[in-house]
């Protein structure tokens, strides 16, 4: 066949990008593994403490506290639903795994907030920084998570912490984007008024921009929580504990029942967290706007 009409045309200019990638990761692993291992420490600490606490807390106490909190922020319907959902989770024997998953979500959301909100503020204040950040966020959101599981394992080894790190990569972008959006959306009228009354840049940020952006930032946190939950099963592939385990086991051993209850628990957890955090955001919105 004519060389010009087949993919052989690329042979002279073929590049071994795959081995370049591999070499880069290997190089990082060999030279900087201790650095990456050290980066795990804060996540380990947060995760360890949250999980120890949640596993220690008697389920009945947890359910009562959760129901009370849900009732305060979201009304009695959500409170009843939350209590029933967690009771069901206990009844199907997944209480402990659910607490592990919940602590993974809490840890990854906390880290996302610590990183995402400041990055969002910077992006809102500098168009240049935002232009640099945007493609990075696009890559983080669109790269299939299986692609970065391998390097994550090589750099951070397997386990729940590695799972949390993979989760953070996936769940961080919307919080940054929504923080940026929320701050940029604050009306110039209000900012001008604050300026006219002598406010400094920092005062405008703290007293005007952030409070007014809060509903949007809360929506970002809600998104981050939902995305964290959607990573539970994938994180289990690299050895993370929690509700992903039964699903992966069920997949491997074709045990439909085990996978089914694991999936059900994830869905219930997602609904409860979504409704409560949404109400939290809207509660602020109504208390600020009505």
């Amino acid at each position: 066949m004519n060389v010009w009409l087949s993919d052989a045309i690329f042979d002279p200019i073929r590049i071994p990008l795959d081995s370049w990638f591999a070499n880069a990761i290997n190089w990082l692993t060999i030279n900087y593994r201790p650095t990456f291992q050290a980066m795990k420490v804060p996540i380990e600490v947060i995760l360890g403490n949250v999980e120890t606490f949640l596993q220690w807390l008697p389920p009945i106490v947890f359910i009562v506290l959760l129901a009370l909190f849900a009732w305060r922020v979201a009304g009695w319907k959500i409170a009843v639903f939350s209590a029933l959902a967690f009771t069901l989770v206990g009844m199907i024997g997944l209480w402990s795994l659910t607490m592990t998953t919940l602590s993974m979500v809490v840890a990854s959301v906390l880290v996302c907030m610590v990183m995402g909100i400041p990055l969002g503020i910077l992006a809102a204040r500098s168009d240049r920084f935002r232009a640099i950040l945007r493609p990075v966020l696009d890559v983080m959101q669109t790269t299939p998570s299986f692609v970065y599981l391998v390097p994550v394992v090589m750099l951070f080894s397997i386990g729940t912490v590695a799972g949390v790190i993979a989760t953070i990569i996936f769940a961080l972008p919307p919080l940054i984007r929504l923080t940026d959006l929320g701050i940029r959306q604050v009306s110039t009228d209000v900012i001008e008024a604050a300026e006219a009354f002598g406010s400094s840049e920092r005062e405008i940020l703290v007293k005007v921009r952030l409070p007014l952006a809060l509903p949007t930032i809360m929506a970002g946190i809600n998104q981050t929580i939902m995305l964290s939950l959607s990573m539970v099963v994938i994180a289990a592939l690299i050895g993370a504990g929690g509700l992903g385990r039964p699903v992966v086991e069920g997949l491997n051993a074709l045990r439909v029942g085990v996978a089914g209850i694991g999936g059900l628990a994830i869905v219930l957890l997602a609904i409860v967290l979504d409704r409560i955090t949404q109400a939290l955001g809207e509660g602020r919105r109504t208390s600020t706007e009505s």
Binding site: D189, A196, G198, E203, S290
Partner: protein, 433 residues
């Protein structure tokens, strides 16, 4: 064109001590290279030409004025005339491209343009405060915390902040609304919060950027009345922006009219209305309601004093100044005070207009009572007087000396032409011994 009108006015009026702000040759050009456009501006090119040749937008073009302590200074113009930009140059929310803004305070002069970040903050918290068209309130704060915002920035402690905020809320008629959310309030009430926020800082000068434009007409009128009252009580100096001529005429001690970034006329409302300096201003005032602006002094046919003196020498003592209508005679004494008015062969009673207005209206117009009106009262009062008395209205000065007469003819003329006696002078008054 009266390019330097504002400047001249300023020089004439400015006595040291009563000036609060001096704006000196302010210009503002928006665009990437303002100084190049500024040169063109100084060469006398106009806004449109500069935009076409360089793409720069001229916001303010060589504006100077002196703001007098305690005056209500209105800047009026259509949108795009540069009035909001000019206002923002005063507190440097928009830094001017050229010219100076000088604040005259008890502690000496402050050049706003040269102020450091700290000084600027001090200027904005203590000297110049501001009220905005779209209120600019913080929706996440209570009414009280909104009002206290400026004080919070000044670092005043919470107890005192609340006290001063509540006092300011009382002033604007919102006492007791402190704990509410701003979004629970109507537009008019929200602007009162904006006003209270400005008052709470106790700054001497209030910059008001079309504060009532977003309000419906009734609320707007009410706010204007209260604004006049507040200013007379608190003695604030106010720079007030509007695109509404009637509002400008109602509120302003002086009005600066802007077109294409320049002040084309600066003067009292009556002056603007009765002698517009350019066709642009004339267009503006054409549909204005003159009845609250033009004064009785302007409307009345003034006494011809030379003639009166001449007659006095001839006749000695009392002089009859008016006999155009059948059998109406107005007799004045040596001090120009009205002695008597005779109509239809009888003597008419002299009654101050306010007394007449307080009484019940007569079924037909009086011919045995003549209304007396002070010279500074508006045309509207003359209309009311003529509505009650079918005799010439007697216009007097503060010493009760007769300065002129008003009949239907003068009233109609001043409403149609928005001008006064200068055109009619001596035409209808007859002076006889």
């Amino acid at each position: 064109m009266v390019r330097s009108d504002g400047c001249c006015d300023a020089n004439r009026d400015g006595k040291p001590g009563d000036t609060v702000i001096r704006a000196e040759h302010l210009s503002k050009i928006f665009g990437p290279n303002p100084s190049s456009a500024l040169e063109l501006l100084e060469q006398g090119q106009r806004k449109d030409a500069i935009r076409e040749s360089t793409g720069h937008v001229v916001g303010v073009d060589d504006v100077s004025f002196r703001l007098k302590r305690g005056e209500f200074f209105v800047i009026m113009g259509l949108s795009g005339s540069g009035k909001s930009t000019l206002l923002r140059c005063l507190n440097r929310l928009i830094p001017p491209t050229a010219g100076r803004v000088v604040l005259e305070t008890d502690e000496g002069e402050i050049d706003v343009g040269a102020a450091s970040a700290r000084q600027l903050r001090d200027i904005r918290t203590r000297h110049l405060t501001m009220v905005f068209q779209r209120f600019g309130l913080l929706p996440h704060r209570s009414v009280r915390d909104n009002v206290a915002y400026g004080l919070e920035i000044q670092g005043i402690d919470r107890g005192q902040r609340i006290e001063r905020a509540d006092r300011a809320l009382d002033l604007v008629g919102l006492g007791g609304w402190g704990p509410s959310r701003t979004s629970e309030l109507s537009g008019g009430m929200q602007q009162r919060v904006g006003l209270a926020r400005a008052l709470a800082t106790e700054a001497e000068v209030m910059l008001m950027d079309e504060p009532f434009s977003a309000l419906d007409p009734l609320i707007k009128m009410q706010m204007q009345r209260e604004m006049i009252k507040l200013q007379s009580e608190l003695g604030k100096t106010i720079v007030f922006i509007t695109h509404d001529l009637d509002e400008a005429l109602r509120l302003g001690d002086r009005i600066a009219i802007m077109e294409d970034g320049r002040v084309v006329q600066l003067g009292t409302p009556e002056r603007i209305l009765t002698s517009p300096s350019t066709a642009y201003v004339a267009d503006f005032v054409e549909h204005a309601d003159p009845t609250n602006v033009i004064t009785a002094r302007t409307v009345s046919v003034e006494l011809d004093h030379d003639r009166v003196d001449e007659l006095r020498r001839e006749a000695g003592g009392r002089v009859i100044v008016h006999r155009t209508q059948s059998d109406v005679e107005i007799v004045i004494d040596d001090d120009d005070r009205v002695r008597e008015v005779r109509a239809d062969g009888g003597r008419a009673e002299l009654v101050p207009i306010d007394t007449l207005l307080a009484e019940e209206a007569p079924t037909s117009r009086y011919r045995d009572r003549a209304a007396v009106v002070r010279a500074d009262r508006p045309l509207r009062t003359l209309l009311e007087a003529r509505n009650l008395c079918n005799l010439p209205v007697l216009v007097i000065d503060h010493d009760e000396r007769l300065i002129g007469l008003v009949t239907e003819r003068e009233i109609i003329y001043s409403i149609i032409e928005k001008r006064g006696r200068d055109a009619l002078n001596g035409d209808s008054a007859e002076v006889a011994a």
